[in-house]
Amino acid sequence: MQPYWNAYLFIVLFLVVGILLPVGSLWLVGPLLRPKNPRPEKLTSYESGVEPFGDAHVRYHVRYYLFALLFVVFDVETLFLYPWAVAYGKLGWFGFIEMLIFLVLLAIGLAYAWRKKVLEWN
């Protein structure tokens, strides 16, 4: 299975080259070309022209967490579907019924979230 692993080495190369481009241009070459004269006024945070007040790291709305949780549930279930999709040709109707049961469970979860009004952005 030697050639099989070659493709993964390729991906490592993409990672290395992908890191080299920003590192090279932002940290190695960039400082030689760009000016650097920071002043206190320049370094204030932008708040539409008024003096920034307070810290921006405030607590944010709980709905972000709810959507993150929904994402975890549904995305993982979607990932379970991929191996099934590839093997479906061999599984036939048995695989179809099994997946239908899985999808119904998933749909019940969605209906529950819908009913609980989690899917609304208000």
């Binding site: 080495l9 920071p38 945070s45 921006a56 994402f71 549904f74 995305d75 998933l106 952005w121």
Partner: protein, 332 residues
């Protein structure tokens, strides 16, 4: 030297791989440069303007000039920012977007890219990673607009990741493989682009893809009228340019994925494969520019409702229908 998928690893195949990676990097940079110019030209024409035409012949060097200008601009890091994360965020956003290109089959064989068996899963995993750069950039800026923009981006991209992934299961089902080149071959074998048997899936995919790319009508994270510039409000110079680059590299990757999965990839009569691929990817680009000129921005609550109450159920329905179709085809 170019057949590394089937040959043992030697220095020569390693060198060929390195060349392939650099070629794809240059290709991506070129596509981004001229994609941005094409976008501005198309927007101009659709609005009865000429578009950029001063720098170089027909304005062809406009984006090059813009990039050079950004390169020699001061790199301002706000005093209140979380410095290490602020510096790191554009890199975190760019690297996965570029790595996603590693599995797109630009031509009949994987010459410049990797033909791994889990290509589609790999693409989905990496495209989801880009969210981290965007969210960390928004958080590390320590600016209220950035934080809200970053959180909105994260919520939007996370939500639309689900229908995007679900709509692609239908393709995997028809092709019986996750290797992107096998998907193209399956379409050739069927004699039909998957956009036809997977039309519902394609509709779900294209809406989710537009939302994933943060493009109009789903450009809420960068809603100028309320959030200034969203997560990159505090970014300037080349660091800002990397966020823009990420956005367009991701657009390129998505165009490649759409062409591969739904439009038959490199397959087509008469013309060479890479040209077919380029034409199909260009059609996706044009579609995105067209949308930007036509659609108003939708509201935040409509955004989430559309994703969870329309696209997700449609994706599930599409999956069941495709499974039935495939089972009938297998019998018949």
């Amino acid at each position: 030297m170019w057949q590394w998928q089937t040959q043992p690893l030697t220095w020569s195949t390693f060198l060929a791989m390195l060349i392939g990676t650099v070629v794809i990097l240059l290709l991506a940079l070129g596509v981004v440069t001229y994609g941005i110019l094409a976008e501005r030209k198309v927007l101009g024409w659709m609005q009865g303007r000429i578009g950029p035409n001063r720098v170089g012949p027909f304005g062809l060097l406009q984006t090059v000039a813009d990039v050079l200008k950004l390169f020699i601009k001061e790199d301002v890091v706000p005093a209140a920012a979380d410095r290490p994360l602020f510096l790191l965020a554009p890199v975190l956003a760019f690297v996965p977007a570029f790595m996603a290109l590693a599995v797109i089959p630009f031509s009949m064989q994987h010459i410049f890219t990797a033909g791994i068996g889990t290509g589609l899963l790999y693409y989905l995993a990496l495209s989801a990673l880009t969210i981290h750069g965007v969210m960390l950039g928004g958080w590390a800026s320590n600016n209220k607009y950035s934080l809200i923009g970053g959180m909105r981006s994260a919520a939007q991209m996370l939500s639309y990741e689900v229908p995007l992934g679900l709509s692609l299961v239908g393709v995997a089902l028809l092709a019986g493989s996750l290797n992107l080149n096998d998907v193209v071959r399956a379409q050739q074998h069927l004699g039909l682009w998957f956009i036809i048997p997977q039309f519902l899936g394609f509709c779900v995919f294209i809406v989710a893809a537009t939302a994933e790319l943060n493009r109009t009508p789903f450009d809420l994270p960068e809603a100028e009228s309320e959030l200034v510039a969203g997560y990159h409000t505090e970014y300037s110079g080349f660091r800002w340019a990397f966020f823009m680059l990420t956005e367009y590299v991701y657009l390129f990757a998505m165009a490649g994925l759409t062409a591969t999965l739904f439009l038959g990839g490199w397959s087509g009569p008469w013309l060479p494969g890479w040209l077919w691929f380029a034409l199909k990817a260009a059609a996706f680009f044009f579609f995105q520019f067209w949308l930007r000129n036509t659609m108003p921005r939708i509201r935040a609550d409509q955004l989430m409702t559309l994703c969870w109450k329309v696209l997700l159920p449609l994706g599930l329905v599409n999956l069941v229908l495709t499974a039935v179709l495939k089972a009938v085809l297998l019998k018949g």
